[in-house]
Structures are given as structure tokens and as C-alpha cells.
Symmetry: C2
């Protein structure tokens, strides 16, 4: 007998009976895996079981909730300790971190910046903020990051090197940088990508918004780019309410990043003098207080997320038409979100089904080259991106 739920799926899509059975099986398995792990069916749910209250209350009691206060410094120091990066600059969110990273990498208006089409929209938007043009590249189906082989082949056939500059032969514009994105917390293949960047005179920036706690061949991500970005939005492994950070191993860039994200004011006991165009991207002290308490719990959060990934892998190990997406072998991933690779044609109906059961799964972001503001941007053939968008299901990973 068909339930109401089944009917709605059948009505909305032309799905075979076999696929309908598969969809029901998968959604049931997700439910089982979630229950094994935690009983939580939200995609993301932060956990506040450490010093969050204590630190936030200390902020309120001391009156230091805003731009001055000890928690921003402590939060930044803790980030350096965790990532091994020389400098961490706390900012208002991952988007502002990306904006400043591109600015300080020296990307100029009218230049192109290579960026995977599979990413959250902020990565492409940040390129627009510096009046540069996103140039979309394809993703690897094994790690979801920029595919170094496809990147190299594309640059070979579509660009030329003039002096120290890489020129897009079709548009005549300089291509100055590449943003590597560590998608779902899995590390991109940094060594191979770095090699391409060197060959083609590209500056590398890492968007590690989803990847706090992820290591690539033993080093924490965010240390290979000139500048890298983290996010502490509410859906991330660690949250500050809203927040982000810029990482860099260059002290001069670190100083400048701090300076221009805090209005470029020259320190003085009473004068307000700003020596260049600055931004108000600082993280308020109250948000840093929350974040510090969260960072203290990071090892626990990561351990739970890894256990959850293992549970999912087990549950989905023997179902035809479905494959649990495993972290690449070189990556000790934070498993920010878990994913299934599905056979083609069932994703939308499965999402409909899980949604009705209040399991909040979702697909990847709509690829950037499909968004109206980026539809005319330069791009390579994006077969993998389009295939991943049609076949990848992201599902509950709430395990903080």
C-alpha cells in the first residue's frame, strides 16, 4: 500500500518502482545511522557544553562585548595553536575573510581568479568584491576539490604566460590567483595543485571555511595558501554565532590583515587617523568568547564527527546504486558533512522524501556557473561539477 508520502514522491517525479524502493531504503538507512550516532536529524546543530556560558557571561559582566577585549586575542592564539599557522586574524565571517584574502593577495580589478564551480557562493562573491572575475574550474570526483589534472590541461590550452603573468587567451585578461576550496571538510590535493600554481604563476588562496580540524598529509589545511580562510558560522564544526578568520604564515600580511579589517586606524591614545581604505570586519569580543569555548572542545567534536562518518559508512556499505563518499586517503578530514553518491535520477525525489520525514538532507550548492550573476563568466568544461550536483546527497552530521 502506498503511503501519502510515497504518493507525493511519485506524483512529483517520474520515478520507477525500483528507484522508489531504493529511495525509501536510503532514507530509512539515514535515519538508522543518525540514531546510532546521536538521534539528531538536523544537518547541523552546535553543541554548547563547555565554557561557552562562562566566557560569554564574563564578557557581559566586564562590559567588554565589542571591539576591544581579551577573547579576540585568546581566540586568535588558540587558532594558531590548532592550525599551526603563524597568524590568525578573527573577522566577522568567512566571506569577509575571503574578501580580505583576495585583496591582500594583490588581486586587481579586471583580473580573473580561478575558482571551482562547486563551492558556497561566498567564494565567487568575494572575487566580485575586489572587482575581479571568477573563472570556473572543475572538481575532482574523488575529493570534491579543484582537480589538478583538469586544471593543468585547461590552463595549457587556454592561457599563455607573458613575463610573470598568466593571460587568458580568450579574454585577454590576467589570471592572477586560484582559490582552493576544501569541500565538506575534505582536503583538496594541495601538493598537486600547488605544483600547477607554480608552473602557471598563480597565487594560491585556500578557502578552508568548512575544514577546521582537517589535515593534508599531516599538515593542517590553510597553511599552503598565501592567505587562507576559516568560517565559524552556526553550521560549522565550531561556531561563534557568525565569524571567520584569516590565516597566514607571512607576518607582514598578518599585520596588514589585522590593520585593514579593523578600519586601518593608526594606534593613538586619542586621535582617529586611518592611513588607508579599511573595513569593519572585526569579530566582536562576545562572539570570540563563544568561539574560544568552542575551540577548547574541538578534539571532542572531531572525534564524534569521525565516529559518525564511520557509522554512516558501515550502514551504506552494501546498497547498490549508493556509495558513501569517503575522505581522500591523504586527508585526515573533519567530516564536516557526510555525503552519498547516488545513481543518477533519484536525488530530487530522495530529497523530497527525506524532507517530508524531517531529515534535513540537501544537495551540493547549485554550481556557480549556473547562477544568473556568474552565468557568463569564463569556465572550463564542468562535467564533474554538474555530475556531482546531480548525484551527491549531503545529510545530517550534527555531532558537535
Amino acid at each position: 500500500m502506498q503511503t501519502e508520502r510515497d504518493k507525493s514522491v511519485i506524483q512529483s517525479k517520474s520515478i520507477s518502482n525500483d528507484d522508489l524502493e531504493l529511495i525509501k531504503l536510503i532514507s530509512e538507512k539515514i535515519r538508522i545511522a543518525c540514531n546510532i550516532a546521536s538521534g539528531e536529524l538536523q544537518l547541523h546543530e552546535p553543541s554548547f557544553e563547555g565554557n561557552e556560558w562562562k566566557y560569554v557571561k564574563d564578557c557581559l559582566d566586564s562590559g567588554w562585548v565589542s571591539s576591544v577585549g581579551k577573547y579576540v586575542d585568546a581566540f586568535e592564539a588558540k587558532l594558531c595553536e590548532i592550525t599551526g599557522s603563524k597568524r590568525a586574524i578573527a573577522v566577522s565571517n568567512g566571506t569577509s575573510a575571503l574578501h580580505i584574502a583576495l585583496r591582500l593577495a594583490g588581486v586587481l580589478p579586471g583580473e580573473e581568479v580561478l575558482v571551482p564551480s562547486i563551492t558556497f557562493v561566498a567564494t565567487a562573491n568575494a572575487i566580485s568584491y575586489v572587482q575581479a572575475i571568477p573563472h570556473f574550474v572543475d572538481s575532482s570526483v574523488s575529493n570534491l576539490g579543484v582537480c589538478p589534472l583538469k586544471l593543468k590541461a585547461w590552463l595549457k590550452c587556454s592561457t599563455k604566460v607573458e613575463g610573470d603573468s598568466l593571460i587568458n587567451t580568450a579574454t585577454g585578461r590576467r589570471i592572477s590567483a586560484l582559490i582552493v576550496v576544501h569541500v565538506l571538510g575534505h582536503s583538496a590535493d594541495l601538493d598537486a595543485i600547488q605544483e600547477v600554481c607554480e608552473e602557471f604563476h598563480l597565487k594560491m588562496i585556500e578557502d578552508a571555511a568548512e575544514a577546521l580540524g582537517t589535515f593534508y598529509k599531516g599538515r593542517h589545511v590553510g597553511n599552503d595558501g598565501i592567505l587562507s580562510c576559516l568560517s565559524f558560522n552556526g553550521n560549522k564544526t565550531v561556531t561563534t554565532g557568525g565569524g571567520g578568520a584569516i590565516l597566514t604564515n607571512d607576518e607582514t600580511i598578518g599585520d596588514l590583515a589585522k590593520h585593514i579589517t579593523t578600519t586601518a586606524k593608526i594606534p593613538h591614545s586619542w586621535n582617529f587617523f586611518h592611513d588607508q581604505l579599511g573595513f569593519n570586519y572585526r569579530m566582536p569580543n562576545i562572539n570570540a568568547a563563544l568561539g574560544l569555548a568552542q575551540l577548547e572542545k574541538l578534539p571532542e567534536f572531531l572525534s564524534r564527527k569521525r565516529k559518525l562518518a564511520e557509522a554512516y559508512e558501515k550502514v551504506f556499505s552494501n546498497i547498490e546504486g549508493v556509495q558513501f563518499f569517503k575522505a581522500p586517503v591523504y586527508s585526515n578530514s573533519n567530516h564536516w558533512l557526510n555525503a552519498l553518491l547516488l545513481k543518477e535520477g533519484i536525488l530530487e525525489a530522495l530529497l523530497d522524501c527525506t524532507y517530508q520525514q524531517q531529515i534535513f538532507a540537501r544537495p551540493l550548492w547549485t554550481p556557480m556557473h549556473k547562477l544568473p550573476m556568474y552565468v557568463n563568466c569564463p569556465k572550463q568544461k564542468l562535467d564533474n561539477a554538474e555530475w556531482l550536483f546531480k548525484t551527491l546527497l549531503l545529510f545530517p552530521a550534527a555531532q558537535n
Copy 2:
């Protein structure tokens, strides 16, 4: 006998003995006034004596600290109630509010925007963010806002109207908007300025960052501009840690402001699709929770600030060479910061003296046309701005 303090003042400046006596007298009077009022000598100090902890704790307990949650909606509704504005959109800070206001007012790259040279740097920076050029105008010595008379005279002699556009005859660029700033919480002369804007086809935006609780002829500031901006930084009358808001009485603009400050995502149960270039300027729920509790106390904060201003006025009523800066008669000011107009030549030495006594006074911001990034921008003669910068002392107003 000279104290160490006196010597340092004398050494650093060539100050007459009479002026030195005056400086000592003023700094003593500031101390007395502060003590009368509260005993506080900080320029700004937030007060958390209402529901701050209750609401913030509720955020932590519920897990909703970030971009989703009830406090942002409640905070926005309360702002509408207080200001009488149809729409209030909570954002990350006053700077981002200004950026979006200029964008939604339709200011285009390469256009000029009129702005007083006497303002916090964010006002001019926001103009740069939309790739427009600040065009500095002078301030009124009676209310510290844009001087409508000088503005009109300047536009008459330096611009021409072509169709619906105002053109700067010297640069050939269109001048599309004027930002009115309500400096120190005192309202600018909105009616007179509005009249000039109409005559010269200028869109008006209000920077009311410092002016929550300030009324102009009975209406709350921020209702005359197409869009207006508030700030809730830690130094403001009401704080959210870091935060701001966009006000507008145009529902369509209000919808768009909410949309593009929250990444321009089209609402959908699982898909991530963004229909235009958006920004991540949302105010996190935890900051809105703090802000809501603060807004509930606004009447008390304002009442205390007004009493403090009265205390200051009394203390400084009979000293030659010093004049307490009174709010303009048409303005029911929030008295965000109090100020003294000093005789010329003593400001720097007085600041040195108060600083050594740990009274945190300060001058106005360095006028924008003196900052390296804006030194070559178009401007009218800025006599008042330069005089105010040399003679105005801002001093402790912590009275939340």
C-alpha cells in the same frame, strides 16, 4: 610648584601660563561633572542590567546563536517601534549598513557622493566600497551636520543639472547622492537639507550611526533618507557587540536589503540558489539577543544621557574660553557624546592632560579630506570642519 604632569604638558606644547591654568581647570571640571553623574571616566561604557544575560543564555541553551533564530526578528521589530520606520534590517555593523544603503540607493561606480568631511571614516569608506568617489562638504558649527546653506552655495557654483542628473562641472562626474550624518547624536537640519537635495536631484541617505533615540522636530532621525543606517558598536547608546541596521520606509527596498545582506539566497527547503550578488552582512542571533535586551532599556539610557548633558552644561556654564556644545533647538538629541568648544590652541595640550589623568577625552575624527586615501577627492572649502577639528573636545558620556 609644577607637577610632573604639568611639566609634560608644558614640554610638549608651547602653552602660556594662562592657558595652562585653563587646561587644568577644564580637566578638573570634567572630573567633577563625571563624578556628579556617575563616577565613570571612560568615553563609552555599555551597561548590562536588563534581560541581556537571560536572552543570550536562551540563545546558548536553544543552540540558535547564528543566522537563524527569533532574536533577529524581535530586534528588528523593536527598532521599527522605536524609530517609527516601516522596515529595519539588522546587519553586522554600521559600515555594512552604509555599504548596502549606497548600493540600494543606486549609486554607481564612478559617481560622486556628497558627504561631510566631519564624520567617522566608515561613511567615506562605504562610498569607496561601491566604487564611487566621496565629495566632501562642510559642516554647520551649530549642529555639526551638513550645513545646508554652504551646501547650496557650493552646488550652485560648482555643478550643473543635466536632465535629472547633477554634474560636477570640474570633474564631469555625476553627483548622485548626499549622506547626511547626525554627528555625536545631534540631528542635522533635515528639512533644510532635504530642500537642497530636491532642488539638485540628490538622493538622501542618513548616517544615524550615533543617533538612535534622536528626534528631529518630533520625528525619529533615519526616516527622511531613502535608506538610513544605525550602529550598535560597543561605544554606542545601545550595543549588540558589533552590529548595525538599515532603516527604510520603502517596503521593496526593505525586502531587497534583507535579501542581499543574507547572501541573496532564494528560500527553498534544500536548494542553494542565489539570484544576484549578495553579501554576508547578517547579524548573528546571539548579538540580536543582546541588542533586544539593550533596546528595552533605551528610555533609561536616554534619560541618563540627557541628565549627564545637563550636568555638564551647568559645570561649564561660566568659564571663559570654553563653551558647552548644546544640541540644536529642533533636535531632541540622544547626547551620545558630550563636547566642549574650546578657544583655539589648547586642544592638544588639554588632551594630553586629561589622558594623563585617565580621563578618556578625544578630539573629533581627523576630517576625511586630511586622510591619505581621500586627500585628492573633490571638496568645497572646509573652514568649519577644520575649525571644529581644532577646537572641539569630546569627553566621557558613559551613561548607559
